[in-house]
Structure formats: structure tokens, C-alpha cells
Symmetry: C2
């Protein structure tokens, strides 16, 4: 934490800690999580005192109009059951199945020559997030559980709290055989910039925060980045859409949590529905206080109603081309009418952030085409885009949501923090050489038979 340690020293220490940790069994990491929880409890008073300092500084910013109340609330470790659920989260992560050591491919290449593909940690993670102090503990737990070393950087507004949380984590680690540099916290942007250059030591960057943070990081590093900048999700009302499903799913996708990345931002209406389902959906959205940015077709379908809907004049506006590239993140939705499933798929593929898109349809054929044709991490049928979430998917946790196609895609659980390696063992009396295999007299052929095991037997 001292400012006299360079970014390279931090990164190198993390890599060494990672490498050393590979020789310890998973039980050591579970024990570390218990010790960390104890240290957090033992240091609760000091941590809350530090959090009070952050909150006081934040209050000055809020009073000066430089910080939102929402951001200040996120800083508050004493809000509701945040502290208790943070501690419970450490235990919950400890209780999840071990993501490492899982065999996903086997092959007996020859008598006494066995190949295993087994999951293992990635290495050193650099995790960058906004000023939410409990995330330090949450991410540390995920990294330790999955066997990765981690370097953590939270928003500067939470620096006092983060510093003491990281100290408690180090103290917990120091009571185990794991190196105390297994999890390190850094406090300055300058350190982040320097770390983003160190692809020799850092294997994966995970930014958790707004669009601009993620984009800035993606643009300034060659290290793989796992995350998402945008969440521009669509709902498409197919020709055969049921109106009740349409109303329920569209309203939920838009209004359940409008600032979430999996909220819907654009609604596509099949032109055959303009005077039927679309009118019902529009009225339900207006009743839920949603503003509609409509193309000419969807707009005139509402304007020509015998009884103009309530809020029509205040909430219905004409869209522009750019309306369909905007992540509104509030109670606004862009609407466009399109003449076919095929044009809807093309529109989504060119406008979506490839996060999550949903079709409302009674046609199995349309559902199948939509799910295959839409090139997004999640393609849904008659279900809200808001289901795109690691907990809802049943992962027990969520490391983030990725809109990349490489490594992990969509909501990412602990599995996203592991890679795999191949272990090959010869038990033959003379070992194994490739010269023994081939065509010709005395040469052997590969057997390539599966081995029935779920773990490496040595």
C-alpha cells in the first residue's frame, strides 16, 4: 500500500504469490476465507471509523453538488445489512463447489499413457471497480476461492475504508500458508495505468463499473479484459406475439431496474401488430411512467387511437436514428416497427451490444431462428431481459457480465476465473516417446479412449 512500492513490484509479487500458491491444496484457500472473515469481524470498529471518514468527505462533495446522493449511499458500509451480507458473502463463496481441479477431457493415448484436461486458476487478476467498499471483500473472496492472485483498485472516494478492508484481508492471509501478497489493494490511478502495461505479470483485467471506465481500460491495455461496456438490450414483438406476454415481459424488461445493464433499451414491433399488441404494450409502458421514443409507424399507431392515451403528449416523442444506439438507463425506451423477423434480427445484430435480446412469440420456428440468428450472449423467448444475471442463472455468484466472445460470455460465475491445463502421465516402464508412434513396422497407433474419472488421480 505504501507509495514507495512500484507497480512492477506489486505485479511481480502477485505473480510470485500465485505461483507459490499452486502447491497448496484448495483447503488452504477455504481456511483463508474463514480467517479473513474473522479479521473483518475483529476490526469492525476501525473499519467503520474509516468508513465514517470517507462518508464525511463525501458529504462535503454532496453539499458542494459534486457527488450524487446515490453515490454517497453506495459508500456507506453501515447501510441496511450491507456489513452482515458482506461477511455472509465470504462464507457463501467458500461454500461454492471448487472450480479448480475439474477434469473436462480425458484420453488414454496408449497403454499407460493418460491425458487429462483439468481446470486451474488463470493467474493474476487486476480488478478495477467504483467506490463500493464491500466489493473489495467480495472480489477477494472470489479470487481466493478460484486460486487466483488479485490486485484490487476501488474508487478513490472509498480509499480509507478500502485500505482497512484490504489490511484485514492481508491479516487473514498471514494466518495461513498463503503469501500475504496474494491479494493486494492499490489506491491510485497512476498505479492502474502502470499495471495495465504489465502483461508479463497480469493475466486478466476485470473492470466493474460504468461504460466510460470499461472503455478507457479496454483502450489502454493488451491484457485480456473481461466485462461489458454497454448493455443495449432489445425486446422484439414477433408477428405471433401474445399480448399478455408482450405487456408483462416488455414492462418488466424496461422498469424492473432501469439502470441495470440487462434492462431493455429498444422495443421492436412487427408491423402487423401496430394497431393491436403495440397499443396495449404502449399503454402499459405509459402507465408505468415510461417515455417512448417512437418511429413514425409506432407513433401514428398511438396518435390515431380514438382515445389518445394518458401521458401521450408528455411521454411520447419522435425518435431519431441515434435513439437506437443509446443506453437510456432510465424510464425511456426507443421503439421501431419492422416488417419481418429477419429484419428484426438484422437490426438487433447491428444495434445490440450483444448482451441480451428477447423475442415474444407463439411460434417455435420464430423462437428458434431468433435464438440462433441473434448474435448475443443471451437470446430469450417470452422472458424478460432482466433474467441475464449470474445468480438468476444459478451460478451462486456473479463475477461480471461479458459481452466478449472469447473465454467467458454473458453472466460469469466462478468458472470465468479459471482456465485449464493438460496433464499427461506415462506409467510405462520406459516412459513414452513420440518416436514409438507412426506408420511402419513396430510403430504404434494412438488409442484415444476416454478415461472414466472426474479428477486427476495423482
Amino acid at each position: 500500500m505504501g507509495s514507495d512500492i512500484t507497480a512492477e513490484e506489486i505485479a511481480k509479487a502477485a505473480k510470485v504469490a500465485f505461483e507459490e500458491s499452486q502447491l497448496f491444496p484448495a483447503a488452504v484457500r477455504i481456511d483463508a476465507l474463514a480467517k479473513i472473515r474473522q479479521q473483518l469481524e475483529a476490526n469492525k470498529a476501525e473499519i467503520f471509523a474509516a468508513n465514517k471518514l470517507d462518508m464525511e468527505a463525501a458529504q462535503v462533495e454532496v453539499d458542494a453538488g459534486k457527488m450524487s446522493n446515490a453515490m454517497m449511499k453506495r459508500l456507506d458500509l453501515g447501510k441496511g445489512d450491507k456489513w452482515d451480507s458482506m461477511l455472509k458473502g465470504v462464507q457463501d463463496v467458500a461454500d461454492l463447489p471448487d472450480p479448480t481441479g475439474v477434469v473436462s477431457y480425458t484420453s488414454q493415448l496408449d497403454d499407460d499413457l493418460e491425458l487429462y484436461r483439468v481446470s486451474c486458476p488463470i493467474g493474476v487478476l487486476l480488478v478495477i471497480f467504483e467506490a463500493r467498499p464491500e466489493v473489495v471483500v467480495n472480489i477477494a473472496a472470489l479470487a481466493i476461492k478460484s486460486g487466483n492472485a488479485a490486485i484490487l483498485k476501488g474508487g478513490k472516494e472509498s480509499n480509507h475504508t478500502t485500505h482497512l478492508l484490504a489490511k484485514a484481508i492481508s491479516q487473514g492471509l498471514s494466518q495461513t500458508s498463503l503469501p500475504s501478497t496474494y491479494v493486494q489493494a492499490i489506491q491510485t490511478r497512476a498505479e492502474v495505468s502502470a499495471l495495465l502495461d504489465l502483461d508479463r505479470y497480469i493475466d486478466l483485467v476485470i473492470p466493474r463499473g460504468g461504460n466510460s471506465l470499461v472503455k478507457a481500460i479496454q483502450n489502454s491495455t493488451r491484457i485480456p479484459v473481461m466485462g461489458h461496456a454497454d448493455g443495449l438490450c432489445h425486446v422484439y414483438l414477433d408477428e405471433s406475439a401474445d399480448s399478455q406476454k408482450a405487456v408483462r415481459v416488455v414492462v418488466d424488461s424496461k422498469t424492473d431496474y432501469p439502470s441495470a445493464c440487462n434492462a431493455a433499451e429498444t422495443l421492436i414491433v412487427h408491423t402487423s401488430l401496430l394497431n393491436t399488441v403495440w397499443r396495449e404494450v404502449a399503454q402499459a409502458l405509459l402507465a408505468a411512467d415510461v417515455h417512448l421514443l417512437c418511429d413514425s409507424h409506432t407513433l401514428s399507431a398511438l396518435a390515431s387511437l380514438p382515445n389518445v392515451p394518458e401521458r401521450f403528449s408528455s411521454h411520447v416523442h419522435s425518435s431519431t436514428e441515434s435513439s437506437y444506439s443509446v443506453e437510456h438507463l432510465d424510464l425511456t425506451i426507443s421503439v421501431i416497427a419492422l416488417p419481418s423477423l429477419h429484419s428484426a434480427i438484422q437490426f438487433i445484430n447491428s444495434h445490440s451490444s450483444h448482451h441480451t435480446d428477447s423475442i415474444i412469440t407463439e411460434s417455435e420456428r420464430a423462437a428458434s431462428a431468433f435464438c440462433r440468428g441473434v448474435d448475443s450472449a443471451g437470446t430469450f423467448v417470452n422472458a424478460s431481459t432482466r433474467f441475464a444475471d449470474g445468480f438468476r442463472y444459478g451460478f451462486g455468484t456473479e463475477v461480471g457480465i461479458s459481452t466478449g466472445r472469447i473465454h467467458a460470455r454473458g453472466p460469469v460465475g466462478l468458472e470465468g476465473l479459471v482456465t485449464y491445463k493438460y496433464i499427461l502421465r506415462s506409467k510405462a516402464e520406459r516412459g513414452h516417446t513420440v518416436g514409438e508412434f507412426g506408420v511402419g513396422e513396430g510403430k504404434k497407433s494412438f488409442k484415444h479412449a476416454a478415461i472414466a474419472t472426474t479428477s486427476v488421480p495423482f
Copy 2:
């Protein structure tokens, strides 16, 4: 192929072709492979005429001392059974199991709400390789089989041949419902540079070639790159090493194919073996015409032999620190003595290219520690590093070998050309909203029960 098409137009056409192709069943792609094979056969005479032009130009370069004979041989499509095995390769890839549509995770989130994680193509591949014309056909087959669009760039020395091979591929595609821009070939470096900037359209870059080619590409793009620059593999002779296994595995690892990336470059000898196993291994290596770059310990163990080995003066040299960072790619191996398994693991982790490293040991404990402690794509026990290969691993093909940890690691088969997406379907009468779930009266909990299926049922 025309020089008036911009790189952006090529990339965009590839993306559109990819998106359109998603709506076709896998059978269309299998059919395309058959049609491509027919077109190649139908155009054999023209293709060989073009290859003759490339060979003639190459002969001029060879005569002028500007090209190696080995490189010219690689250009020759008529060499041995290259043509026939290229055609057979198309069929072999067509016959492999479909890597797409495979369900790897399911969860019944609620009655009538089903989640499937299913493998699907990545998108647009940019594959860059040296002047081996048959690789165009090989890679096109792999891309088509896995459902990806591809842009291919071979070494300029094979341009005439590549052009006609690509033309035959396009003609084959045009006899199917797949767009003919599904596979495109480009011919200039300038186009490659421009394409490496187009991360909007290109999803994965696969360089197949030498260290400098791969490094140059990794340094000039933000698009994920799958491959390896170095292959610096180690063999470690553990304290308990059996001398016959040591001799056989070390000689095979070094001499079976010295210019391959999975050949051994450095031998680590436990100090307790200096006067025993090491001497036998050294004599076997010398007998196989291998040059030894030895540290002081391994050197004096040979110099102090009562009968100095044949070739000692010509083939045994002192190493320097930099000897252990060199990929020799010929009959030379660097040798160092280290006092423990732990120091060998540390040495490998700091010098290896994380490709493949092997231990020779009779100790199960040492084997286990080595396989977990060495942070490489392949960790082997009593087996040659040369086994690190997609065909030997049983994948039926090899897209490349990756030393990255993200997405694919080690030898990569067709699985490395797919990602996955989540498909969620509600069959409930009213569709599904997240508002139905939570705590409180009338709220539902998630069920998260596995669904017994290996494919998406619609």
C-alpha cells in the same frame, strides 16, 4: 480479391456473411465442404499451373540466395501426396463431430423456464499464415465446419496458388445457400494492417507462423489473438529419475523434430544426478549429434569423466544466462543443474514460454507437485514434450497451439473456434418476468434444477 475493395468492406462482408449463416443448419456447411472439394478437383490443372508460377518465382529467389530450399519446398503443392492429403483433410474435417449446438450447462429456473448454455461459432476469424498454400484449404475447412466466417492471408510467395484455391472455395460456397464472402482471401500486408484495426467486425486473429510474425500481430491489435510466439519447453530430471526414461524422453523431446514448438530447449538436472543419470543422458544426446550448452556443474560432470565422451570438444560448450531464454529450434539444448524440485519449478515458471514442460521422476509426490506448480499449458510426467499436439491429444485436427490462458490453452481443436451463448425459454402461459421472484408474499424462488438434455430442444 480486387484491390479496389477496402479492408473495411472485406471485414463487413465477412460479418454479414457470418450473421446470415447462423440461420442455416450444420448440414449446409457439411455440404459446402463437399462442394469445395469438388471445385478443387475440377480446377486442379489451373491450380497447379498457378503453383508453377509461384515455384518459378521462388526458384529465382533461391538461386539469388534470398529464399531457403525448405521454404520453396513448402510452396510446392505437387510435393509427395500434399494435394491428395489436402483434399482428404477437407473430408476428415467434415466428418468430425459438430462443435456447435453442444449444451454444456442447463438450469430449470422455474416451472416452464429453461436455460441452456450452447456452443456456437465465434464470428469472423482473421487467419494469417506463411507461404504454405494447402493451409488456405485446411483453415477454410475448419472455419466452415465450426460455423465461423474467415478472412485468410497466406505468405505472398504463394499468392498465385492461394488466389486460385480461394476462388475454388468461393465457387464451392456459391453452390450452397452460404454467402460466397463466408471465406475470403486477401493478398497484401496493407490489408492485414487495416483489418487488425477493425475489432467491430473481426472477433479473433489466429496467426500461424514464426515468432516474429506472431509477436508483430499481438503488438498491433486489440482483437484477441490465439496462438503462441515461443515454444520454450523444459525437461526436468528429478532426484528420483529413472535413467532409461530420462534418456529416451530427453532424446525424443530434443531430436524428434527440433524445429517444432514442442521440442525441448532446456534440460534441468537435479544436482544429485550429475555423476549418474546426467552422464548417460549427455552421452545419448551427443550420440544423437546434439550440442550441449552447459552450466559449470553439468559441464564439469562431463569433463571429469575418465573417458571423455566422443564429440565432447566439438559439441559441449559453456552456457551463459541468455542460453536459457533461447528457442534453439535445432540440435542444441541448454542444460542447468538445480538443487531441488522447488527450484526447478521456479526456474521453469520464470523461463518457460508456458507451452509444455516435462518431469522425469519415479515419485508420485514430485509428479503431482510438478504438474500443479508448473504454470504451463502442458505438464507431463515421463513423457516427451513432443506429445503436445492436437492430433496426438485426439482432437482429430489442430487449429493451433495457444500459450494464452484465456479462451483456449495448449493444442486447440475445433472447440477453440466456438464460444457459447445462453438461450432462455419460457413456456409459461404468461411468459416470465423477474418481478415474480424475490422475498415476500406471492414471490417465487428459483429452482435451479439441471435439465437432462444434450441439445436445445427447439
